[in-house]
Point group: C2
Chain length 403, copies 2
């Protein structure tokens, strides 16, 4: 067979993080069939869809079985989804529906976003960060090999987010980069940048001709009313940022699949070409629309925000319980107040060792911070996504470990 | 802003074909609000979902609103979908469920497939062909500029499929290529390669170390029992082919979104690396699963094949009516017997002119053959996807045009 393998795939240091953790979990269960595992690992939603959402989706499916209710490509309801996303998710940012591109999720859009930029475009990421940013950049050829000593890829700029800088990075190493992939509130640290910090990010991007790819999947979890829920609430951001988000965490759509990317009309390349126009061409060629049923669900979720945000309240309640548990045990932790993740610090220890120790001693699955990048070393991410009784039980088990 | 535009986007000669046609249609309607348009253009399904499919999806959605029925990432039913695809869609080809990768559609997979191969890998396509093959290859950087005289991109090998070669191309120009993108039954010509022709394709690929990317989205429309419904029914294909397909046309899932790609275990790169393993890494990083509701629908569609194939029978009935109408008018046409498309020949005329003439004179939307590639010039594709009464009405209108 021809030697046409994408060489960048072989640069990837390891399997994608979450399947790797899933594998360790399954192996543990196989070896210990009598143990009862609690998963606070992958960050997967657990609570049922809000009743009006399930009902609307169910009705929509029945209608697809009728001549009047059937539709094929480009469901006519997509226009309503765009309108609702613009109105409900960006009340402060004046986003027009024509700037909203509906998709099957933020992760998928982040992969497709690689097509928007030339191969030489350089990437900067928060460290630690959601693995897709780096992995997709490596796969597209934006990096050299990994440095085994540091766990960092050549050609990718890592901006450490640590307790020392309150998890908002020194941006200066990204000065010569072309893109900054920025997740706020952050996964995995649970930290959330303030308005002033976001203003400094936008000013830096404008000054250095950098495009910010802003991941706001966790924005609905922000409790502090002073913190912007979209980068576009910051003056100037429409000239330097793209924002990607989804209903996965807000409305429990991890399995239903519905996300979007906002590309402002003002955003242009150096040559003056519209970024949104290119994005439309990419989406039109490489994608064929979010599932119509998911779009029907999105309309219901965004039209019944009281029921939808009850899910957020539930998960944030879990995060509070987790955070208070670890604090009560004298462990230092971060996040959990404007994000559903609690980032627990075990200074001097290896993340994977702590992860394995927790799994083996009390059968709770977490996520090793080092899996998100070198600066995550010494941390473990504990997810607030779970049934309340599971979280309470996990916290009881944590108490047996460290008290 | 930084000059990081993907330069390959600007190489694209025009908008993606179907939105372009949609725009012309909308403009015509705006200018002629009293005219009644019939669309036999884009190839979009029109008949309701089979009753058991709509019911299963509806029930699944209601269950997502309950604690017991809810699931998030990686719906547990995906294993069943893989099993059913392997069993129901590949009864002659011995495909294992582990070789089936479920997705949100064949078009989306064809885009992601670009990531599997290095940038130097050269592409050959049937001409005419589904525009995504060439457009995604151009966007990924596998071509030079378009030659305005021929309408062909430098660096892409076009294999003309014409009445003269019975729409099965001379493969020899692809000798030095690395991939052949091959659609069978073909969109847009409606032609279908025979077993002997497919055997010659596989032999050619093996001999020249080429990977065949085989698009079998229209395979369920094959009526001739002698023609393979999968490339994997041909000896040796598992060592040189990937196959992508979907429920869009078979089960009316154009809006529901469910497809798959089969990557056989035997398929390896020159260095011996498993293609399937790389594909798994790509799907795991750039994708997050097909909508769970679509997967529930897929299980119902593949478990109730009598109801599902009734849709195929309906559309093939339309294709027969269309073909007989044009033949009765003394026009030469192809396809329509093993595929839902009829490719009507207007020798010496421009496809776009004929397309516009049909729209303006009798208000039927078709698709210009030249939109699928240079060799489509002089043809118009008429789709069998439509309600029966619309097809009958369109055929009456065609008769007023040419009789």
């Amino acid at each position: 067979m021809a030697d046409i393998r994408n060489p960048n795939i072989s640069r990837l240091a390891a399997g994608y993080l979450f399947p790797t953790i899933g594998k360790i979990k399954r192996e543990y269960i196989a070896a210990n069939p009598d143990k009862k595992i609690i998963s606070l690992g992958i960050g997967d939603t657990t609570e049922p869809l809000p009743a009006p959402v399930a009902k609307a989706m169910s009705d929509y499916c029945l209608a697809l079985g009728t001549v009047e209710g059937y539709s094929g490509y480009d469901p006519p309801i997509e226009a309503d989804v765009k309108e609702l996303v613009a109105k409900v998710m960006y009340p402060q940012a004046s986003i027009d529906a024509s700037e909203v591109f509906i998709s099957d999720g933020s992760k998928c859009d982040l992969g497709r976003l690689q097509w928007l930029f030339n191969g030489a475009a350089k990437v900067a990421v928060q460290d630690p960060a959601y693995p897709v940013y780096v992995d997709s950049s490596v796969m597209f050829g934006r990096s050299g090999d990994i440095d085994d000593a540091t766990g960092q890829y050549d050609g990718v700029t890592y901006m450490p987010c640590t307790p020392e800088n309150d998890f908002f990075p020194d941006l200066s190493p990204a000065k010569d980069c072309d893109m900054i992939l920025f997740c706020n509130p952050n996964n995995p640290t649970g930290a959330c940048a303030s308005r002033a910090q976001l203003e400094s990010l936008v000013a830096f991007a404008l000054e250095n001709s950098i495009i910010i790819v802003y991941d706001s999947a966790y924005a609905p979890f922000i409790q502090d009313p002073e913190i912007p829920k979209s980068i576009f609430e910051v003056e100037g951001a429409k000239r330097c940022a793209i924002e990607s988000s989804s209903l996965s965490k807000l409305a429990g759509f991890t399995g239903v699949r519905l996300g979007w990317t906002v590309v402002p009309k003002e955003l242009v390349f150096k040559g003056g070409e519209s970024v949104g126009k290119d994005w439309g061409r990419i989406m039109g060629t490489l994608f064929n629309g979010a599932a119509n049923v998911a779009q029907a669900g999105a309309i219901a979720a965004l039209s019944n925000m009281e029921e939808t945000t009850a899910l957020v309240t539930h998960y944030m309640g879990n995060a509070k319980i987790i955070r208070e548990t670890f604090e009560g045990l004298g462990l230092k932790c971060h996040g959990g107040t404007n994000a559903p993740y609690v980032f627990v610090h075990f200074p001097g220890q290896d993340s994977w060792d702590v992860f394995k120790e927790i799994l083996e001693k009390v059968q709770v699955v977490t996520t090793p911070g080092a899996g998100f990048g070198p600066a995550g070393q010494g941390f473990v991410r504990v997810s607030g996504f779970g049934h309340r009784e599971s979280v309470l039980e996990a916290c009881e088990r944590f108490k047996t470990m460290w008290s």
